[in-house]
Amino acid sequence: MLEISIFSILALFMIGGSIAMISNRQTVFSAFGFLVAMIGLAGIFALLNSQFLAVAQIMVSVGAVVVLSMLTILTVNANGKNMPHEPNKNKWIIFTSILVAPFTILLYKALATLPDHFSTMETINSKVIGKELFSEWVLPFEILSILLLSAMVSAIVIARKSKNKERGRS
């Protein structure tokens, strides 16, 4: 009973945060909604007794993603006034939510069968996850790291000044 009530509170926080994130015009409230949703997700991980995932969730999503997105908002001064005009925004949100509902049900059905395909563990701490990651899941892990590396390289390439322009200036 206690678990269910905690879960429902966390789920409400997550849903509320997500709705606030997509429906708000002020970017800063969107970021706050995302923050609330991510902390709710971390809470659900903690409720499932996997503290490492909860802490990692906070570390990555809140400590890195929200801070970076807030920094972007600060740098480009993304006020509500400067945002593009979106007529009938709420209608569009409702319409698309109905449109993706069947896909969501499909996703739910697929995800509900996932626990049968994985071995369950008593305790999930950083040591267990590290060993699992570097033995069974080492190939996906490396592929993901290559993806991150390519993203980083492309970011640097985009941010770099082109040589011609630099010559022209100097």
């Binding site: 706050f32 802490v55 990692a56 807030m70």
Partner: protein
């Protein structure tokens, strides 16, 4: 869960909350007194309650009352998001308080085969907790700065955010080097690792085992806690008060107190990771428990000496200048405090005498060792806080680009190199 387990859990939670909250007034007072010491003046020392000044700590409590009674003022140009504007300081404050809770104050107590952690939050992944929770604190700063709708506040919060991002990397990488060295993510296990010796005679403290990572850790924690020489987020000479320009009364006080708790947490992390935590060098908990009577006798000799020196120092300094006619109750305060200290010492002596020679209870012995370790922890914590304050009043502030340059060009490559060498050495040894 036995009764002892519940008691220890409650007591360590209370201790954690008290250590975090009650050190704020002491730290504010210390900051002002140490600044005065460096600038050759006295600092706040007059405020008193019935003649008791305690060196001026009472001033901080008076300041809190003043801030509580101040007018809550909201800038009229803040149209939307007043609630988040108010909530932002609370985020910073609460997060700083939460991050402190993972620090162990004493070694794990073993009562009837039960292992009880003397930690406000009894978790065994304290390092990850600190890194995760500590990163949220800056969000309060960013939200508050953005919602102030003020150029100075905007610049201040942008600076705070970018500084946290650039110093989180060396901080994380240096802590990763410690995790590899100690082979654990548990603060308490880290402290236990440091109780051994290194090169046969040096204590195996992190600062001696991992000097480069230790220096990177200290520097990046200074930057993370927004202390001098990294106070670019609230540089008075450039951007007034930075992100808290528009925050008044208790909202300002929340930011202010959050900063001091963050500093306290940073010192606690530093002493736990690299200065042996609650342990004194060369002496591990098992050693103290096995030779308890020797330990008790050493304490029985050293406590009166320390208290005697304290009383002598107090008698010399708790006076007024000879030219002043009234002593404003200082002699009375000295007398009362002397009696209190002496009776406390006598009580400690009697208890130790009883425990060392007459009682034979392992529970009482381990509780005595625990209390001793808590005292050692608090003394070390205060020493490091004074170190933080001394740095603030000694080193001038860096320019903003210099701070970023230091983070990205020196600390990050250095910590990566250090991590690589550490991994090589650890793999080579095992």
């Amino acid at each position: 869960m036995s009764l002892a387990a519940i008691l220890i859990a409650i007591l360590s939670f209370v201790l954690g909350a008290l250590l975090a909250l009650l050190t704020i007034p002491v730290l504010v007072w210390l900051e002002r007194r140490v600044a005065s010491l460096i600038q050759d003046r006295l600092g706040p020392n007059r405020t008193n309650v019935f003649g008791f000044r305690f060196g001026g700590v009472v001033q901080s409590f008076a300041d809190v009352v003043k801030l509580l009674l101040k007018e809550e003022y909201y800038p009229s140009h803040i149209k939307t998001g007043k609630w988040l504007f108010m909530l932002a300081p609370v985020i910073t404050f609460a997060v700083a308080l939460l991050a402190f809770m993972a620090i162990p104050f004493a070694d794990t107590l073993h009562i009837d085969g039960e292992a009880l952690r003397v930690q406000a939050l009894p978790i065994d992944y304290g390092v990850l907790w600190y890194l995760a929770i500590g990163a949220i604190g800056v969000l309060g700063v960013i939200f508050g700065g953005w919602l102030s709708h003020n150029k100075y506040a905007l610049l201040g919060s942008a600076r705070a955010g970018s500084m946290v991002i650039s110093y989180e990397l060396p901080l994380g990488l240096s802590i990763l080097a410690f995790i590899i060295t100690y082979n654990t993510v548990d603060f308490n296990a880290m402290v236990q690792w440091q109780s051994g010796t290194f090169f046969a005679f040096l204590p195996a403290w992190g600062i001696l085992v991992q000097p480069i990572a230790s220096i990177i850790l200290i520097v990046s924690l200074f930057a993370e806690t927004n202390r001098n020489p990294f106070t670019v987020a609230e540089g008075e000479s450039e951007i007034v008060a930075g992100f808290m320009t528009e925050h008044t009364a208790m909202k300002f006080a929340m930011y202010f107190m959050g900063e001091y708790i963050a500093m306290n947490t940073a010192s606690a992390v530093i002493i736990t990771v690299i200065f042996g935590g609650y342990q004194i060098p060369w002496v591990s908990t098992e050693m103290m428990l096995q030779n308890f009577s020797v330990f008790a006798m050493v304490l029985m000799i050293s406590v009166p000496v320390i208290v005697g020196l304290l009383i002598k120092w107090m008698r010399k300094n708790n006076t007024v200048r000879p030219t002043v006619s009234t002593d404003s109750g200082r002699n009375f305060e000295t007398k009362v405090l002397t009696i209190a200290l002496l009776s406390m010492t006598a009580l400690i002596e009697v208890i130790l005498l009883y425990l060392a020679f007459f009682a034979d209870s392992s529970l009482a012995n381990s509780i005595t060792v625990m209390l001793f370790q808590i005292v050692v922890f608090v003394v070390k914590l205060m020493m490091f806080n004074i170190f933080f304050i001394l740095i603030r009043w000694t080193v001038p502030r860096f320019r903003y680009d210099q701070v970023q340059h230091l983070g990205w060009y020196y600390l990050l490559p250095l910590s990566l190199l250090n991590l690589f060498i550490t991994a090589l050495v650890v793999v080579g040894i095992t």
